[in-house]
């Protein structure tokens, strides 16, 4: 299949693995920012092809993983109301809140629907005028434009029974939080290709300069990731710290300006709590005052919720690249995808779930 097979070609992959081995002289620790990249690395076994000097640590870019517990609790509270149709992307339904998950609400009769686009939720609102339709707006800059479009259209069309439960997060502040933490190990980043498709990569240039860290905008196929690693290590070995674009077939430096305009029209930058990490200033998006009427937290009076996270879970350290999943004592024993202690075990993009699914037994060899 075009745009897939050529990026999974075993011979090309081998060539790049050899090129990486040639260019690597010293030990380096790189972080892939996006959960989609983590998933591909573990699924295809990309890290097995790297020289032992190169360590990949897994970043915070899994929207399901970083959505705070209290927001899941808010979603559960809203979705349990008989007058509500609660719409969400599929993988949010299994994330545990304090007590239960959205699938359990559905089993109890809650009207919870998996949608593929927030505009589908808007359509459901239009077709069900006597119901309140709420969309769970989760994600990074990648999903923000479509969510902004849904609110914008609801406003333009006067659809009153639609609202968003917003938990949008932004990548650059999270990268800065990782780089400025005392335990940081990360020496170079593979930036998230799809986030940069929307936002471009100018906002990464000051980060690369300030922290002297190479940042390579990288795609999601095995060959993309190996190319990203190659470019990143080459910079490190040559003492450079620049922003480079590996994912040129999708990303331009300035990004998608129309999408950015839409985000700015509807959202404003707010402080946001990250599950397992805590609050990071200016790291999220919230609805602007003009669109506050579409804020589900206000509409259903759940804004003040707080919740505590499971104390045993080290997902915060995993999302910051300080620890790897199998270094957690609960991994695979008290914490499994069926009984997750934290969100990194829940989402298919979470590092713990990826390790459990593809690596849980150590004896995998050819």
């Amino acid at each position: 299949m075009r745009f897939i097979d050529e990026y999974r070609d075993a011979k090309a992959v081998e060539r790049f693995a050899r090129a990486i081995a040639r260019v690597t002289k010293k030990p380096w620790t790189l972080m892939e920012v996006c959960g989609g990249q983590t998933h591909a690395i573990v699924k295809f076994g990309v890290d097995e092809l790297l020289p032992k000097e190169v360590t990949l640590v897994h970043g915070p870019g899994c929207p399901v993983c970083v959505t705070p517990v209290e927001l899941i609790d808010k979603a559960i509270e809203i979705a349990s109301r008989p007058d509500v149709i609660f719409c969400s992307f599929g993988d949010m339904l299994r994330v545990p809140g304090t007590g239960r998950d959205l699938l359990a609400v559905k089993a109890k009769g809650g009207d919870i629907r998996v949608v593929y686009s927030p505009l589908d939720a808007l359509k459901i609102a239009h077709e069900n005028p006597t119901k309140q339709v709420v969309f769970f707006a989760v994600g990074f800059e990648t999903t923000a434009p479509a969510n902004a479009m849904a609110v914008y259209q609801a406003y333009q069309r006067g659809i009153q029974n639609f609202s968003l439960l917003v938990s949008h997060v932004l990548v650059p502040p999270a990268m800065e939080a990782i780089l400025s933490s005392p335990g940081n190990r990360v020496q170079g980043f593979l930036a998230a290709g799809h986030v940069c498709t929307v936002m471009g990569y100018t906002e990464y240039e000051p980060i690369a300069r300030k922290y002297r860290v190479p940042i390579v905008v990288t795609g999601f196929e095995p060959l993309d990731i190996l190319q990203g690693v190659y470019l990143c290590i080459k910079q490190l070995e040559e003492g450079r710290a620049e922003v480079e674009n590996q994912y040129t077939r999708s990303v331009r430096r300035e990004g998608n300006r129309a999408a950015q305009r839409l985000i700015r029209e509807v959202f404003r930058v707010v402080p946001r709590k990250w599950r397992g990490v805590g609050e990071i200033p200016r790291s999220g998006l919230g609805l602007k005052e003009e669109y506050a009427g579409f804020d589900a937290e206000r509409r259903f009076g759940v804004a003040g919720y707080t919740a505590l996270e499971a104390s045993e879970c080290i997902s915060g350290l995993i999302l910051q690249g300080v620890k790897k999943p199998h270094e957690c004592p609960a991994f695979g024993t008290r914490c499994t995808p069926e009984h997750p202690l934290g969100a990194t075990m829940v989402s298919s993009e979470g590092a713990c779930a990826a390790y459990y699914r593809y690596r849980k037994r150590s004896a995998v060899s050819n």
């Binding site: 295809f44 076994g45 929207p63 999903t143």
Partner: protein, 351 residues
């Protein structure tokens, strides 16, 4: 008066986590297996049930009968490549065939929702008739119930089936052994994507048709040719991955498969990429895997490919001894990883 034992004391299901049945309990993954292993099997325990196969094989005075049942709750009722009626016949016929039996007789139980258009029922019954004719089975008994409007999804169908085992080979997961070759009769994931495309209103360039079909003819062909078959399993919910994991665990062997050898149509692959689904876990209704002795592998492949149902058949892997009960996949880029069973159905990803 006899007292009912305290459910919470006798039931090892973590009921504090799952006080209610979830959809995932029927998704063909780990939760469904937990439900079966921890609730149904201990309660009904007997040697035939312990075979853990698609159907039960019972010896009745020297005659070996295969017996199975399946229920069908598909939405939408009609989809490209089939409908609930074809599934209800082929599903039970295929379960019998996977026991190595020649399917003979079916029963059908209809649970109809008040208000179902009579014309819809007629179309379904007609396609059941055609599917039964093609599979050479007779529908010999049945039952009809009607539930209140709102208590059903139009129509639910249960079928049960009886077949006869006409050979001395025992075909079951526990007979899989090191050295066996694993063959797959065709492309994976087509039924699941066909249903999802209609259900979710997803439009692709071409219509993706379900692969729903009776597999009995092809299985009979293999048996008549004297192929040394150790195990057969049709791919349904949970897809190729779940079928192989179940067999690896039951036989306590390691199954190695090669991703490059697994047939996958481009349109199905494209749909899976867009939705963030792994085709290894997406349902089929007309494909099966065969575990055969190594000396019969090439002949099996030739017989499969001579049938329209197995035109794209392929050797996808083999069995080695290490008692681990794992499935290991060699990925497209040549690295190895474990193939695990999912908890429930796959859910489309955010981005």
């Amino acid at each position: 008066m006899e007292r009912t034992p305290d459910f919470t004391l006798s039931c090892p299901i973590p009921i504090t986590d799952y006080p209610n049945v979830l959809l995932a309990h029927g998704g063909g993954g780990k939760l469904m297996h937990q439900l079966i292993e921890k609730m149904f099997v201990p309660v009904f325990q007997n040697p035939t049930l312990d075979q853990r196969h698609d159907g039960a094989v019972i010896d009745l005075g020297g005659v070996r009968l295969a017996f199975t049942t399946d229920s069908f709750v598909v939405h939408p009722l009609f989809f490209p490549g089939g409908d609930i009626g074809t599934l209800a016949v082929n599903g039970t016929v295929n379960d019998l065939a996977m026991c190595g039996a020649r399917p003979l007789f079916l029963s059908a139980g209809f649970i109809l929702e008040e208000g179902l258009p009579m014309e819809t029922l007629w179309r379904i019954v007609q396609s059941m008739r055609r599917a039964a004719d093609q599979a050479r089975v007779q529908l010999v008994t049945g039952d009809t119930k009607v539930v209140d409007n709102g208590s059903g999804d139009g129509i639910f169908i249960n079928t049960a089936g009886i077949g006869i085992v006409e050979h001395n080979t025992s075909i079951a997961p526990r007979h899989v052994r090191p050295g066996d070759v694993v063959l797959l009769t065709g492309d994976i994931g087509r039924h699941g994507i066909a249903i999802m495309a209609v259900r979710e209103g997803l439009a692709f360039e071409s219509t993706i048709e379900s692969d729903s079909a009776s597999l009995a003819g092809l299985v009979m062909g293999l048996l008549e040719a004297g192929i040394e078959i150790h195990c057969l399993r049709d791919l349904t919910r949970g897809g190729l991955a779940s079928a192989l994991v179940e067999i690896a665990e039951a036989a306590r062997v390691r199954i190695n498969i090669d991703e490059n050898a697994i047939p996958l149509r481009e349109d199905v692959q494209g749909a899976c990429e867009i939705l963030g689904l792994d085709p290894l876990y997406v349902a089929n209704e007309g494909r099966f895997v065969a575990f055969v002795a190594p000396w019969d592998a090439e002949r099996t492949l030739a017989i499969m490919r001579s049938s329209p149902l197995g035109a794209e058949a392929s050797i996808v892997g083999g069995v080695t001894a290490d008692f681990s009960g794992v499935v290991v996949l060699k990925s497209k880029i040549g690295a190895s990883r474990i193939v695990d069973m999912l908890s429930g159905e796959q859910l489309p990803r955010i981005c």
